[in-house]
Symmetry: C2
Subunit: 233 residues, 2 copies
């Protein structure tokens, strides 16, 4: 772990936010407020509202909303889950928890550390456009307040305690981590619908994200999901 | 379409339910009550309860609960969705709606027809064990009241109006239909948590299901998800 995990002073953050290719060391971790236990619409009512929203305002999400969003996506919801690991809001094969979610904000890209429920800086600067596949719709992603980037870590499957069938087979691994991505993205869609937020699951700029996030060879950038207040309605 | 879609008399259903290899023609379609608009826990409260539950009672689900479950999974939630098609509770690439959900009940396996919100018979007899991968856990699936079987229909991608990148590439198709499966399964997990039901996403007996469902070459059996009342708590 080569990230600095102590909280830096606010002036350092302000400088980093203005630079387009700053170092992650110039960003401070973001300590998120505790996720709330209730609030918003029921699951059934939210399913009636579920849709893809591509027109999203630039307005930032308040810290509590960002906290609830990331926890809803793939937070820890119980200490004692399967395989001796904490339980998460989304299932994964043998509870391998092979998906990491990276979070692109205006200040930089962060790794969501679920156990500590905080954001660790990975790349400083406004890199939000990389969460979009280049093309006519990338401008909307570049200005939206939050994009979640889904990254599979195949090293997680190597742990011997995981016994799901085919966990060493690349083809089967791919089906597991893509389903795991959908399970997390489904949580995001329903959380967004429950709170009047808009959400949009889409392709992303895989090569540029892989480079910016300095991923290991076992990690694969998969998709992204943009969230914010809907421009309409 | 070689299924009979009119409603047969109840005695015919009773006969079919007792046979282990009856014909789908001996089963009647199941007209589901309209899905409810609200009720159950909030999305946030449900996410705190989200987990995999493998110990499920044999008790049947009441018709309204079965209706809500299948609608929550992948029902129509608005007439005017993207690409000139109805909108669904779960997203799919270019709204291709490439996943069909088949429903294994004690009486047989049915196709969930989302637009009509009903179950069309596909294979008669108690075939629930096929929704499990053979092994020590298959007995639990065989006795649970409902298993949803996820089947991708690659023919859907051939429609020219769908323009998502790579929709003709088999590798990219696979990532799309596996994510789509996860999005639907995520709806099921959260609906179950909101209603005090247990749910379990797992592998299934792909060759036997493919045969029993008489699938076309473009269709792929992917996974299954078992739902019912939890045996504990």
């Amino acid at each position: 772990m080569d990230r600095r995990t102590f909280v830096k002073t606010l002036p350092a953050l302000a400088v980093a936010a203005g630079a387009s290719s700053a170092f992650a060391e110039d960003l401070q971790p973001i300590v998120l407020p505790k996720p709330e236990k209730d609030g918003g619409k029921s699951v059934l009512a939210s399913l009636w509202e579920r849709k893809t929203t591509r027109e999203i305002k630039e307005d930032k999400l308040p810290p509590q909303v960002l906290s609830n969003l990331l926890w809803a996506a793939f937070g820890v919801n119980r200490e004692a889950g399967p395989m001796g690991l904490p339980g998460r809001t989304a299932a994964s094969a043998s509870n391998s928890q092979e998906i990491d979610i990276y979070v692109a904000l205006a200040e930089g890209i962060y790794l969501y550390e679920a156990a500590a429920h905080r954001l660790a800086p990975v790349a400083a600067g406004d890199l939000r456009v990389k969460a979009a596949k280049p093309g006519r719709r990338s401008a909307a992603v570049a200005k939206a307040p939050v994009s979640i980037v889904f990254v599979a870590d195949l090293a997680k499957y190597a742990q011997a305690k995981f016994q799901e069938p085919g966990l060493k087979d690349p083809e089967i691994q791919k089906s597991y981590y893509d389903v795991a991505t959908g399970l997390i993205a489904g949580n995001v869609y329903l959380f967004a619908a429950s709170q009047g937020l808009g959400a949009w699951f889409h392709n992303c700029n895989k090569p540029e994200l892989s480079a910016a996030l300095k991923l290991r060879p076992e990690q694969r950038v998969l998709f992204a999901q943009t969230v914010g207040y809907p421009a309409k309605g």
